[in-house]
């Protein structure tokens, strides 16, 4: 009989704004198991874990640890009870060393002062014990994302956590890093740790978890043994319908060049060549995908193309117009539509309404104005139509965007960008961190627009499934260069792609010649 180390019983959490994020949720965790907690974006997984970790206080419900009723009022209580959390967004201090980050909050002291050497030693011990290959003296800002995550796990372990919460840990990792993480998690499990593993990726859940608890819209749909469940069973529970993970699309008929990038170089403030001589064409009616581990110049490329950042040399032409010295506004007029990576910072104005966000790129056009005034009736009609077309779940068009879930916020961004009449769409991580349903809709629309309207699309994404599904041509970026180019994305295997992404293989200029 499995020993129960944790039980959350009838948890209800209502946020200050009245949003019910968790409604009577009950689940339990056994000793030495990895339990998957799955659910669409906004289902309430993070909220539930915040309750467990003492970051949010629930309206009602009880928590039992090893069968004992406990009160968790703050993080210190939680840590005290042996709970550790690796947050979805890292809780690290980039300017400090690994050792300082690990020791923060439980600093070793000597003669009343912070004992840095002892902190280094403690960190090294944990690293050795759990086989993390990390130098305690390096600064966190110099680490890769995968290494940062290990620092987070070490922070949890050094505090003696027995129950470890991992909130979407694989979202930011490469396939290889994910494998490494899974080995580590299995090792921890063997050592008697119990792990709650949150993920959107069902194949991962199948790989390392023994049971799954499913949340939907704040409700718990139950916990199941994974033995007798397959991926589509789980996905059905999560989203309440079958999600087709494949996009059917006919071959593209690329025509004239819409975007021409020639020898683009960008050197950043620290002198690093973040974009290193990229040349490529994007034609009418095709989707060009760029895969790559995050931080290999994709963000910089997208910043340069949309005019938010400058570049050092080279040339970029959109519809035959040079973008040098042009403002974002001017570049948009040339035919750019842009789905930015960070929707909250660059994609929307969170406090403004859905309506205002949607018309923010076009309110000045004669179509929407009459003299000094806006044609509100006309705009309202249009926005209502978009809300319906793009399936934006909201109370009404005047609701502030920040009240929506991530997936719906992204749909607002997409609704604006896809209806702007542009013939070039730059989509940077368009479905990151949003639910399967919304992601599917966005991907399908990208493909559909290229086929029916002849839009040229550049799709930058760290989600392999996404670039493989949606792209026609597929490129791989690494260290600011294009290191591989495939004429047909659907003929590329994930494994092969991974090897190019991690630099195990590189194509020669000749091999890529005809694909760029």
């Amino acid at each position: 009989m499995a020993q129960e180390v944790l039980r959350m019983d009838n948890i209800t959490k209502i946020y200050d704004n009245g949003f019910v994020a968790n409604k009577n949720i009950t689940f339990w965790l056994n000793k030495g198991e990895i339990l998957a907690l799955v659910g669409e974006n906004g289902a309430g997984k993070t909220t539930l874990m915040k309750v467990l970790f003492g970051l949010e206080s629930p309206q009602s419900g009880d928590v039992y640890i090893n069968g004992e009723h406990v009160k968790i009022e703050n993080t210190l209580d939680a840590i005290d009870k042996g709970i550790g959390m690796v947050h979805q967004h890292f809780m690290l201090l980039p300017s400090l060393t690994v050792a300082e980050n690990v020791a923060l909050g439980i600093e070793p002291m000597k003669k009343g002062l912070f004992d840095f050497n002892k902190a280094v030693k403690m960190t090294q011990e944990v690293a050795d014990k759990y086989r993390f290959n990390i130098d305690p003296l390096s600064k966190v800002e110099d680490l890769s994302v995968g290494q940062m995550q290990k620092v987070e796990i070490m922070k949890v372990l050094i505090r003696g956590a027995k129950i470890i919460i991992m909130d979407e840990p694989t979202a930011v990792l490469t396939p290889q890093e994910t494998d490494e993480l899974f080995e580590q998690l299995l090792l921890l499990k063997e050592g008697g740790h119990s792990i709650i593993f949150i993920s959107h990726k069902l194949e991962e859940v199948k790989r390392i978890c023994s049971r799954v608890t499913v949340l939907r819209h704040g409700y718990c749909l139950g916990s199941y043994d994974l033995e007798n469940m397959n991926e589509s069973d789980i996905s059905r529970l999560m989203v309440g319908r079958d999600v087709v993970l494949k996009i059917d699309k006919e071959d593209p008929k690329p025509e004239e060049v819409v975007v021409k990038i020639k020898n683009l170089v960008k050197i950043n403030e620290t002198g690093k060549k973040v974009i290193d001589g990229i040349s490529l064409d994007i034609r009418k009616g095709e989707v060009v995908g760029i895969a790559g581990v995050e931080g290999n110049g994709q963000s910089e490329l997208s910043d340069v193309l949309c005019g938010m950042d400058t570049f050092s040399s080279g040339e970029v032409r959109i519809n035959n117009q040079d973008i040098v010295g042009k403002t974002v506004h001017e570049i948009r007029q040339m035919g750019l539509a842009y789905i930015p990576e960070d929707r909250m910072r660059h994609g929307c104005a969170a406090d403004l309404s859905i309506k205002d966000n949607i018309i923010s790129d076009r309110f000045f056009l004669p179509e929407y104005c009459k003299g000094l005034f806006m044609k509100h009736k006309y705009i309202d009609q249009l926005v209502d139509q978009y809300i319906k077309d793009f399936e934006i779940a909201c109370d009404d068009k005047n609701q502030p965007v920040r009240m929506l879930s991530g997936g719906n916020i992204q749909k607002v961004v997409v609704a604006r960008e896809f209806t702007s009449g542009s013939n070039f769409i730059l989509a940077n991580q368009p479905t990151r961190g949003i639910d399967v349903g919304a992601a599917e809709m966005i991907r399908k629309t990208i493909v559909k627009k290229s086929r029916t309207e002849g839009t040229a699309t550049l799709l930058i994404s760290a989600d392999l499934n996404e670039v493989l599904e949606c792209s026609d041509r597929l490129l791989v970026m690494r260290k600011g260069k294009i290191v591989a180019a495939f004429p047909k994305a659907n003929e590329v295997s994930e494994d092969e792609l991974g090897e190019y992404m991690l630099g195990i293989k590189t194509m020669t200029a000749k091999e890529m010649e005809n694909v760029l």
């Binding site: 690290l92 300082e100 923060l104 600093e107 050197i267 403030e269 400058t310 050092s312 010295g325």
Partner: protein
């Protein structure tokens, strides 16, 4: 011109250090706040209230030390008021600081009027006290240097000592580490159980002590009375000094000394007389502040541009 003798240089150097004193305190107070993630614009008002408190308390008790401690306590209380309003009451920090400064400007005059019937200075009404000056044995015998660095007010030496203490506090103590952590990412800090609000209060407390010392120097060192608006923008200059060095304690103090230098320069020119309007000369330290900020920024931007080579050609 009979001016530039060894003595003249010694005097000028002495006056640079003397005039730097309040600026160093203000800059260090700004550093502490900055490292805790806040831009403390209320340094000006905090110093002003402390300056008045020092004069009143020493005058009424007859003890300069009670005055000094009183100035520090009032500095800390001022910090606590802003901290309470911002951290507990969740008011906007900038608006709170501006309100505090305005209240301090008017409030100090009001209190002065209540106690002395005077509206511009306490010099006639309250007995004057000064924190003693210290002659450093041996060093005062060295030519030039001796005259420059010996014989200063105790608080001037304390200001220089504070540079080290602030550095030591920030980089060697646990509290310093936690304070920097909170300043860099409060969420990360609270996720490991650090009480962010408490650290915020502590930063205002330390800031308050430093402002208390700075204010005390103004009214019990630089002169020995309180004068309406006597800090005269020094809090803001301290803030700029911190900004120029991006919050580094030693760099901020050096920048403060640079401003002290321009202050001394202005005083020197004014002392020579001539028909140059004094209002114009009095602008020098402030113009120097703006110039320094612009120059620093141009240097930073130039470095960036050099690295980026041939950025957008307009």
């Amino acid at each position: 011109m009979p001016m530039y003798t060894l003595d003249w240089f010694a005097n000028f150097g002495f006056s640079v250090l003397r005039l730097s004193t309040p600026l160093i305190f203000a800059a260090l107070a700004a550093v502490i706040s900055r490292k805790a993630g806040m831009l403390n614009m209320a340094l000006e008002g905090m110093m002003l209230t402390s300056a008045l408190a020092g004069v009143i308390l020493s005058g009424f008790t007859g003890s300069v030390w009670i005055g000094l401690i009183g100035a520090i306590i009032v500095g800390v209380l001022s910090g606590a008021i802003i901290g309470f309003s911002n951290l507990t009451g969740k008011t906007d920090l900038y608006l709170t600081c501006i309100a505090f400064n305005l209240a301090a400007t008017g409030g100090t005059v009001f209190v002065m009027y209540l106690l002395t019937g005077e509206k511009s200075t306490t010099s006639a009404a309250i007995r004057a006290f000064s924190v003693p000056s210290i002659t450093i044995p041996l060093i005062d015998k060295i030519p030039l240097i001796g005259k420059m660095i010996s014989g200063h007010n105790l608080l001037t030496y304390l200001a220089f000592l504070s540079i080290y203490m602030v550095w030591f506090f920030l980089y060697k103590t646990r509290l310093g580490l936690r304070l920097r952590a909170v300043g860099e990412n409060p969420k990360a800090a609270s996720s490991v159980g650090i009480n962010v609000t408490k650290i915020g209060y502590i930063s205002f407390l330390i800031s308050g002590i430093l402002c208390g010392l700075g204010g005390a120097f103004m009214s019990m060192g630089w002169v020995s009375f309180f004068m309406k608006n006597m800090t005269n923008g020094r809090g803001y200059i301290g803030l700029s000094a911190m900004n120029i060095a991006a919050g580094n304690p030693v760099g901020s103090a050096l920048a403060a000394i640079f401003f002290g230098f321009s202050d001394a320069f202005a005083t020197m020119i004014k002392g020579r007389g001539g028909d140059f309007p004094t209002e114009f000369i009095e602008m020098i330290p402030y113009v120097a502040t703006i110039a320094a900020l612009v120059v620093m920024n141009i240097i930073r931007m130039g470095q960036k541009r050099k690295i980026e080579q041939g950025v957008k050609q307009k």
